[in-house]
């Protein structure tokens, strides 16, 4: 074996100095006790946040117009989930980075048909309502073009929607069964029945909240609550927690990229930020192999402080 040139950022010098006693088990025990006391103190003093989950019932009672407008957006295909694209449906291009359209390549794996899943099917589960039943039959029998005309006509007058005496009211227009569908879905939501209907699509037991979460996120009520909690994306929300609790400050760099152009306004912002973070993570991972970067600690010389006793002794 030949003697190779010593590379100060790769090789470590041979240590010829002394050794000190070291009780690793005692050190570990002390660490657990100290950290344990610290954690108990923090928990006793500050507790932890637990802002209750919102329900569709709560949402539709607090903001019936927002709910009804969201239900309409599921019918006319303008809601976020209706126009999402993969993995939910084919109705949007999805995010793309150059030629990389990863989501589209993977395809539709969690199929969501907003109109059927969020409006029509839940209404079908409602018993003993002849007017609703007739409206659903009219909807099902109508051709796609007729449905589009109804929904488009309703959408035109939806700006003047009011919630009067417990009903969603819009100016009269040729909207077929749509006014009944929207009004009855709002009634259903306000009783809490829609929360159940969106879950029971999976049978009796469920731990999958994909549908109700997508529906709630299509409205602006959830976002308005999140804004009060400073949790929106453009509020560096990814690192924030409800209330005044510290959140996930370790995500500062991830959320930072959402604040700067072009990511803060890009259609594919999520993918761009993800790509940046992948590259930066790879840099951190391969740091010991990257000339220049791996020389930083030697040049910064903070190690002179860390090992000051060693350098003083030798």
């Amino acid at each position: 074996m030949s003697t190779t040139r010593f590379r100060p950022d790769v090789d470590a010098p041979e240590y010829k100095g002394g050794y000190s006693p070291y009780d690793i088990i005692k050190e570990g025990t002390i660490a657990i006790v100290v950290v344990g006391i610290l954690v108990v103190l923090l928990a006793v003093v500050f507790g932890s946040p637990d802002e209750p989950a919102i329900t569709i019932k709560k949402w539709s009672n607090a903001a019936p117009i927002d709910f009804a407008t969201t239900a309409l957006s599921e019918l006319n295909g303008t809601s976020l989930s209706a126009s999402y694209g993969a993995p939910y449906n084919h109705n949007g291009p999805g995010q793309q980075l150059g030629p990389l359209a990863l989501a589209r390549w993977v395809g539709v794996r969690i199929p969501i048909n907003s109109a059927n899943d969020f409006v029509i099917n839940p209404l079908r589960s409602q018993p003993n309502n002849p007017v609703l039943k007739a409206s659903l039959t009219a909807w099902e029998k109508a051709r796609a073009s007729t449905r589009s005309t109804w929904v488009a006509n309703y959408t035109k007058v939806a700006g003047r929607m009011t919630f009067t005496h417990g009903n969603v009211v819009v100016p009269a227009t040729n909207a077929g069964p749509v006014p009944v569908l929207i009004n009855d879905l709002t009634h259903m939501a306000r009783t809490g029945a829609l929360d159940t209907a969106l879950l029971s699509g999976n049978g009796f037991y469920t731990t999958d909240y994909t549908k109700p979460l997508l529906f709630i996120a299509d409205g602006s009520y959830l976002g308005s609550l999140a804004q009060k909690q400073h949790m929106l994306g453009d509020q560096w929300g990814m690192m924030n927690e409800t209330g005044s609790y510290p959140g996930q400050p370790w995500l500062w760099l991830y959320t930072f990229w959402y604040q700067v152009p072009p990511m803060n306004s890009s259609h594919s912002g999520d993918l761009e930020v993800f790509a940046i973070m992948i590259v930066l993570t790879l840099v951190l991972f391969f740091l010991p192999l990257i000339p220049g970067l791996r020389a930083i600690p030697r040049k910064v010389k903070l190690y002179r402080v860390i090992w000051r006793e060693h350098y003083r002794d030798t």
Binding site: G47, H230, Y245
Partner: protein, 60 residues
């Protein structure tokens, strides 16, 4: 219930947080304090003398 109520937080932080908004930076006081504490802890760990191992050499 009341038996365990002493376990409820002494200073719960459930009210809406306060935020530092400076140019592009937008950060909650809580996160800001945590990050500052990290830096302070790091600097303190470098500067404070460590007891033990080297004492036998009589440097201190």
């Amino acid at each position: 219930m009341a038996l365990y109520s002493f376990l409820a937080a002494l200073i719960p932080l459930n009210n809406y947080g306060h935020f530092i908004h400076w140019h592009w930076l937008y950060i909650s006081y809580a996160n800001f304090i945590v990050i500052c504490l990290m830096v302070i802890t790091f600097v303190a760990a470098l500067l404070l003398p460590f007891p033990g191992h080297n004492r036998r050499k009589g440097n201190r």
